[in-house]
Symmetry: C2
Subunit: 362 residues, 2 copies
């Protein structure tokens, strides 16, 4: 994916080669992004010419399936890397500082120190920007992921009466995903009753509680993530609860419509503006909206752009992201409604399409 565009950026930033790792001790989502296959090794992208993967003998058989030339190492990865990229004087090596740990960086510096004066440059900005704008192929993958998760979530809610515990719902979601030949994109959240007031609740082996139940779920299709949240009600909601749900839903739907380029309803130009406007829509409940409006989504469940208060990234075509306002009354209840979207023809287009009408399970 976008190897040529990466090479153009490397030339522009005078970086001789970029390296991306998917090794046991170190993984970098950019590796999958550029390789587009679930294999292991170190991807080396030179400024010009053919990129290749350095892989251990243990992984070589699998790594060859990715379609890149594979350089096999038997014992020491670092020696092989140094021999391949450290020949030239003063090689400038690009690494993604948001995924390389201090320890791995030390090992890298150490491994390349025999080479004639390697230096390092951060490629996280370059990669983040490339990844933020999706290609038609990526859009297709996201669309398929969202279609599948819509279907699975719908089946799950339809068959709700078979579930006794939060974990049973979780298991159903995972097993259904596998039946579709897919994998989940993150650990699903099934948070019932007061548990729903914790945005990052961990599903438990406990009976489903009465009240709002937040289900946050997504799958991966060809490595691309979907992300949806629906909140249903177990039991009989009070009028006040129904109104609170409608408030969150209305704020979510308004944000979806307001995510437009150019025409600037309410002066919204950036993802930060979108967050702040949505917060306003929640009125007195804005103080119970304790997280970001959303996040970029792609090969990672959270990636660029930031969709939060201070984000200065403009709304632009090709950006895939989520809109997920929520209201959490500590120890009492939680409501969150989330869709995955992509900016297309200057406006946000819903990729997740499952109904947002409040579903009540008696």
């Amino acid at each position: 994916m976008k190897i040529k565009e990466l090479q153009t950026q490397l030339q522009k930033h005078k970086i001789d080669c970029a390296v991306f790792f998917n090794l046991e001790e170190h993984t970098d989502p950019n590796f999958f992004y550029f390789v587009q296959h679930e294999v292991s090794g170190c991807l080396v992208v030179p400024q010009t010419g053919v990129p290749y993967i350095i892989a251990s003998v243990m992984e070589a058989e699998k790594t060859c399936t990715a379609g890149f030339p594979v350089v096999v190492y038997k014992k020491e990865f670092m020696e092989t890397l140094a021999a391949k990229i450290g020949k030239k004087k003063n090689t400038r090596v690009g690494i993604d500082e948001s995924s390389v740990t201090l320890a791995f960086f030390s090992a890298l510096k150490n491994g390349l120190k025999g080479s004639s004066g390697c230096s390092f440059a951060d490629t996280s900005g370059i990669c983040g920007t490339l990844r933020m704008i999706k290609t038609t192929q990526e859009e297709g993958h996201l669309r398929k992921a969202c279609e599948a998760s819509d279907e699975i979530l719908e089946t799950c809610i339809d068959q709700w009466n078979q579930f006794k515990t939060e974990r049973e719902v979780y298991d159903f979601l995972v097993a259904e995903t596998h039946k579709h030949g897919l994998v989940i994109s993150f650990t699903p959240i099934v948070a019932s009753g007061s548990g729903a007031s914790q945005p990052h609740y961990q599903s438990k082996n406990i009976p489903l509680k009465k009240g709002f139940c937040v289900i946050d779920f997504g799958v991966k299709y060809q490595g691309y993530c979907s992300d949806t949240t629906r909140t249903i009600y177990l039991g009989e909601p009070t009028e006040k609860e129904r109104k609170l749900y409608e408030l969150v839903l209305s704020a979510q739907e308004k944000a979806v419509v307001q995510a437009r380029m150019g025409i600037g309803a309410k002066g919204i130009k950036t993802f930060g503006d979108l967050h702040n406007q949505c917060e306003k829509e929640l009125g007195a409940y804005a103080k119970y909206f304790v997280h970001s409006l959303g996040h970029g989504v792609g090969v990672q469940i959270h990636e660029a752009p930031a969709v939060s208060k201070r984000s200065t990234i403009p709304l632009q075509n090709g950006v895939a992201f989520t809109i997920e306002p929520g209201v959490y009354l500590p120890g009492k209840l939680g409501i969150r409604i989330e869709d995955t979207l992509i900016m297309k023809n200057k406006k946000a287009s819903l990729l997740t399409k499952i109904s947002k009408k409040l579903i009540v399970k008696k």
Copy 2:
């Protein structure tokens, strides 16, 4: 866990405080180790006195359950951290370099730069060593994890005839784990036929193939991981295949016995010696044993000590680790047999106890 021991080490290494993160943008397994609860925030352990957790308002409710004092921040984590630990001149802050990324480190340096000259020290060695030697409580958790995974794996193999695809086996293992109120400790591997020749095979939605089938599985009990691999045979093994299985089994069982302190059978003193001796036992097949003999295990599925060719770490009481020799004939077959063990009374004691006799499913 071992907070006092950590503080002793901080004093010894003149580190004013150690910080461990479990934040969305950055997680560190040491956080769970010291806190022993699945909560979010930044654990601050001063050289002396009471450790505390800095947590966002969104996570505060949950974080309070961990039993540490909680300092809540509303907006900027870094500001709160700086206000708490940066008051003293020349504070030396301990971070685990094996988990902190370059980008997070920049943010940390930046956030603390208003403070009067913070400097940083690596605590990864200190933490790794503390974590390597298990307490009685940790041993108990590992034991429970291993008992549960023995039971689940046994049920899975007993009920084998219900499975048609690799993914169905995988789903069964995950769902059974949840029924026990537990979670898996890593993505299970179910690799049939030629897939088994890839040690890190990803289970597929494909019919189970004839031949050896490698099942690598583990669960977490109170955050502590078990790790077992059994290889069964689907169909009718040839005499040669049976012999190859017996060779791997014999090498595995010998390594279990040879993991002893002091009396030095075959001169084995370190985990490296243990690996090298096991490799010898595989004779002509040693070249098809392409990974380490094992790894330390605890709150992480892979942690100290290294159990590999060059490991100089001595066999010692309290160390929990795996022994998992394997033979992989590329594109043909794979066999791996793995147990989780703990060094006790100067010898390795099996924590996983499920039978290793070759099971044949027609």
